[in-house]
Symmetry: D2
Subunit: 345 residues, 4 copies
């Protein structure tokens, strides 16, 4: 039984982490922190977790360090930079759901996040936590940088085609659609019900911070000189993320062959389902679960390979992936705590 | 390990039953039937249950009877009438989520459902499955009639006040609001997205079949001559049910006293939370869970006691309650398979 | 052509007023004010009004007074108290959509709004602007207090039964359901998309400020000693308001008779439709329009008269009613600017 | 005053046409037909059009021909093939909102719609009704083929860049998102509220029938050898369509230059707004209106031009465009009946 702290536990990702750790047979949740909700119980803030009497504490490093074996960071970028070194020094395994340790090049971090990286020496040791693609690096890791939600869906959609050499041209169009929980729990004009409901819109076009992370991942998969055009869209729903990815496809590629290749690539992955040819995934299929559902199609006329990947932005896109990584790091069977059937609607 | 069949497993309630039984450590799902989806796997029809390779069978009594210890019926009314006698004769425990065995008076059934009751002799043995109110009758029961979703929320809202004698006058206003899944999986004009979205409306006013069931339950709780005005409303959401119940309140009643009474009444109930004075429940709090959340308020000026109860219509309102009843019937700890944290949003 | 100012024009009600005045053939919009959006154009803030280059001004009394014949106040309570006396002194007709002049008794205002009424001398002259019920008082009025959205729907639902003497007992249950725009444009936790979506909840139970206004209106209609139990609910939709009202009905009342009475009462009202017996209104029917749709049902068993009234909270519930009142005040045909077909979905 | 028939008037597009013609000062609606709703009034079927007592008739050619000057066809493909020749022979102007006369090449029609074109001789005379791009052909036209909703948004997004020669490479990625009303009024599993709500999914990937129409339009605009990868998505909202279009952009292109070009191209168009650099349109901005809102961005790193165009699928995407075309055909000022402010939320 490993003792767990969740730092930033009152945000949406933190709350889903709380849910998953509470239901995990090998993890014991001992500390939840939240500057904004300090003093309240989890059940006060999230009535869906009725019965959970843990009290949000101020995020004080010393008390966390004294009590836990592993810490999940569900904090905004830069906050993880401030916390991780101390936690690591105290011998605590850090699973970071923020952006702070995802980009290996500190200058790219500075360029996209507008702030110098204060712990560049840790970047070399941070393991990018996308088990289906880079599982082997995780066992025993000290610091795991969990991918963003958009990169998770996009890289899962891209990997088989790139690994198999079907896609070689660098230009990749990523048109992604996310539910509103991805925007976080803050009440701002853009998250007002009236602003979101009955509308769909692109946002942060050519400017979303997940762009360099997607490019880094595509390069790691073997794509030379990736040129990523990434356009996220906001959709009127609470949860869910669909990434529709477009690659230039060589002549002769067909949907059935691509399907077979994808199915083979992911056949042993417990959390990935590749739909048969002609069937595309819907985000509702993965609501609340750690699964990724993928569909593929080749448009022969335009020589385009279209791959869509649906995940729950708060589970496979954040909290579930963090637990999956923790399981691997700790030597716990990978699906532990993540394999229960979820509500079907 | 008890072997389980779910009859009518491809409807929404049946699918949620499937989910709950699959996650239940002491139940083994061996048979799922569906006339409409026969031959398909559960995962085909409900991708959220990816990995479930059980195949929907035709609902043939003989094969069900030969293989299981307990059968959940998630079928329309009259279909349970046709199935239950044979299952009981075969020694199978029947947990019926339909309306067929809820009303003890066969003539009231005939009046509201427009068809004669074909098994009136079984009515005396059918146990009304609302554990928080009538738990003691359940252990060892052969036939359990699980309440409708509206009666569940309404009777949980009413019980403490009636049992304590605070409410004696018979007139009760029940204004309830349900998500669309309560209307079932059939594609009809009234369930078209465009018909439901951005609209709220009352339906089946003065004519909903849960009315006599609510009245029967109120009488069983001790209310003399219950006169129930029940108005259900359809709300643009998938799941969730809120019943707002209005009673004439005696002079001198106040919110704090009522709160204390409700809190005391339900303090040992694992699935019921009574919110502190001044706080009302939202259906989102119980989405996907077997919980009921209750809030109370007394309007001194109009001498009205207002009690609101939120449940998930497909869990505490149907499938979860069925599993809860089955646990009690079978001597399994009551919360087994129902106590895992659910997604918080 | 009357010159119009809209004060508080950047809130939702103000924006809908802007839309209606822009489309009104006899009104000319010359001034829109907004402290929050001063300096921006209407089209900047509301792209649906693309092409409207009016610039939001600071709400300065002097410049308003110099330029317009009529002012619509779409401001929070107390702000109208500050503005109305000066506007009236300048000879400007004031159509106030706030709560400040609705309650004739200043002490009730103080009790419910928590602030002393600073212009009690104006209360006697303020005309309550619900034309279908009190039209005769409006022509030539100097100060119109437009009703709240909940009182509008509730009083339209109640009037025929009270006027005809069918309802005499004072206890009235008002269970109302509103879209989120009723909560205003401020981004607060309660208007976050994630907080509202997929949930229904009661709010401000026994405490909503429209309660005394409903009671005042019921008394004005002839109900002696009205005892109002009013419970508003928040529903996941942008616009729309349904008030379901429950009265004790005398023996012998039936739905058809009540329908005939309601149909007769409203037969000449251009904005009211009474649905035939057995049909209840949906808020989608009136989305974007100034209409009120009403359905009635008598529950003989419980001796309850149920009346549901659907309006668009931002039109008949606010801005449309304000324009309708202005038309009457100014001697313009009552439906001018309000009679165009609205989108059907 | 021109006399109008709407054929297929009870579908969503037909109902919106009904709304627009009822509000049009120069058109008189004399006939509405619907096989499914024959005998009912418009107000019965669409309560939002309360007061409209026109009765849906069976779609009988003879009686239509005798009574009207112009007919709008809001019928499924092939139904217009059956109707148009007779109407034209009777001297009636036909504005066809179906797909039957959009593709100039009958063999492409046969390939995509799976049926031979029964009136190929009319194809040469059919005018493709997208006024902003091909206005000059419309005055006096006898048969107008109104574009599909996806082609409308996509071609408006593409035209300025192609016309200016900025885009020359033929490969175009069209990732579009539509509300559910685009799927029509039939209650089928895919339009069930529960199937649509809280989910986003691609559909008919590589197979949607608007693909050849988009390609034809791009070629007409001057793009050589257009290769269109078109992926429509279903979004949980009633109305609205966003087309996000990706072009290969030459080096040196920048967002400001593209914005200027687009703004210049559409500066005199009454229904098109180009948002300033950095701002993307939301479908809510155009809900209920005939407007198209466009945003542009250049991603220098990936050499991609991203253009998003938002329309209301039922107005600019169907009914409004049909009225706009009719205005031009008939010599009525183009914005007549389409220029009233619409609800802002």
């Amino acid at each position: 039984m490993k003792r767990v702290a969740i730092i930033g536990a009152a945000g949406y990702a933190g709350a889903e982490l709380t849910r998953l750790v509470l239901g995990h047979p090998d993890l014991e949740l001992v500390t939840v922190t939240s500057a904004a909700e300090a003093g309240k119980t989890v059940a006060d803030v999230y009535p869906a977790l009725a019965g959970c009497t843990l009290v949000y504490a101020e995020p004080a490093l010393a008390s966390i360090a004294a009590n836990v074996d592993i810490a999940f960071l569900a904090v905004p970028h830069t906050a993880a930079l401030a916390l991780a070194p101390g936690l690591l020094d105290a011998g605590i395994t850090v699973i970071d759901a923020s952006a702070d340790f995802r980009l290996r090049d500190a200058s790219i971090y500075a360029a996209w996040y507008g702030v110098e990286h204060s712990a560049p020496d840790l970047l070399a040791d941070a393991i990018y936590g996308l088990p289906e693609l880079w599982r082997d690096a995780l066992p025993g890791a000290r610091l795991v940088a969990c991918p963003g939600c958009y990169p998770t869906a996009t890289l899962l959609a891209a990997a088989p085609a790139i690994e198999a050499g079907v896609v070689t041209s660098g230009r990749v169009i990523v048109d992604a659609k996310s539910g509103v929980s991805g925007a976080g729990r803050s009440a701002v004009p853009g998250t007002h019900y009236v602003a979101v409901n009955e509308s769909v819109a692109a946002y942060k076009v050519v400017a979303h911070r997940h762009t360099p992370e997607i490019a880094q991942g595509l390069a790691d998969l073997g794509l030379s000189d990736p040129r990523v055009a990434f356009t996220p869209h906001l959709v009127p729903m609470t949860r869910g993320l669909l990434s529709t990815v477009y690659f230039e496809a060589g002549a002769g590629t067909d949907t059935d062959a691509i399907y077979s290749m994808y199915a083979e690539r992911y056949k042993d992955e417990p959390f990935v389902t590749v739909h048969p040819s002609g069937r595309m995934p819907a985000t509702a299929e993965v609501r609340g679960s750690n699964r990724a559902h993928i569909g593929v199609a080749v448009d022969a006329a335009s020589r385009t390979l279209v791959v869509a990947c649906a995940i729950d932005n708060l589970v496979k896109g954040t909290s579930g992936q963090a637990v999956q990584c923790a399981n691997i790091v700790l030597g716990i069977p990978e699906t532990t705590g993540l394999d229960l059937p979820v509500p079907v609607l």
